[in-house]
C-alpha cells in the first residue's frame, strides 16, 4: 500500500494505491489516521485501489469515525464499480460524500 499526500488549498488530498485486504488495511489505517487534519477537509483518492475487503471497510469506518471526532470533513473520489458495490451492499456508501473527480471533490470540500 502506497500513500501519497498533497494539499490543494485548504483540502488535503490523500491518494492510496494498492489492494486493501487483511494484510494491507491495518497498516494503511495506521498511516492514514494521523493525516486527517483536525477541523479540516480531506479528500481520499481511491482511484489506485482495485480491491477492498471487509478489512478495508473496517479501515474506512475508523477513518470516518476519526474524521467525525476531530471535526474533519471527508469525501471520496475514484471508487471502482466493484468497490462501490461492496460499500453499497454493506450500507457504507450513504455515509460518504462521493466526487467524480479530484477537482470536484476539492471544490465540494472547500465550499463553506
Amino acid at each position: 500500500m502506497h500513500i501519497e499526500l498533497r494539499d490543494v488549498g485548504d483540502v488535503r488530498v490523500v491518494a492510496l494505491t494498492g489492494d486493501l485486504d487483511g494484510k494491507s488495511a491495518p497498516a494503511a489505517q495506521e498511516q492514514l489516521l494521523p493525516l486527517i487534519p483536525p477541523s479540516g477537509s480531506v479528500l481520499l483518492d481511491l482511484s489506485g485501489v482495485d480491491y477492498m475487503s471487509s478489512a478495508g471497510l473496517r479501515m474506512m469506518l475508523l477513518v470516518y469515525r476519526h474524521a467525525q471526532s476531530v471535526s474533519s470533513r471527508i469525501a471520496l473520489v475514484g471508487l471502482s464499480e466493484d468497490i462501490q458495490d461492496t460499500m453499497s451492499a454493506t450500507g457504507f456508501l450513504d455515509f460518504f460524500v462521493l466526487s467524480d473527480s479530484v477537482d470536484a471533490g476539492v471544490q465540494a470540500l472547500a465550499a463553506p
Partner: protein, 140 residues
Amino acid sequence: MDVLEVPGVLESLQPIADFVKEASAEAGLERREAYRLRLAVDEIATNVVLYGYERSGQTGLLRIAKNLDSERLTLCLEDTSPPYDPTAQAPPSDLSESLESRPIGGLGVFLTIQGVDDFRYEYVEGHNRNYFTVRRPAAV
C-alpha cells in the same frame, strides 16, 4: 494449476487471490462475478489466518482446489485450524445503522455468502472445508 497450498499467514492472501483470478478467467466469469468470488474466498482465508490459526496459536496450511465443469466453478478452501462454521455466524447488525454507532465486524462472512451462488461449509477429519460455487455464464 488445480491446487495451491500455502502457509496459513496473511502473506498468502495474494497468491490465493491470484489462484482465484486465474480460475475465474478459465471459467469465463464476468468481471463483477470474478471480483465477488475473489472477495468471498479472501474473507474466509483472512478469518482462517487471524482467528483460526493466529488466535489459537497454531500454524498450518491453507489449501485451495478448483473444480470446473461445464456449468459451474467450485473452489474449496481447506485448513486444519479449530472447527469454525462461517454459516453459523450471526448476520451483521443493521446495515443502515450509522457508521458512528454500529459494531465493527461481521461483514466479511456476509460479503462471502452474498458474493457467490452457493457457499457450503463442512468439518471432516480435522479439516475445515469451505466450498464456493459460482455458475458459469451460459455458453453462447
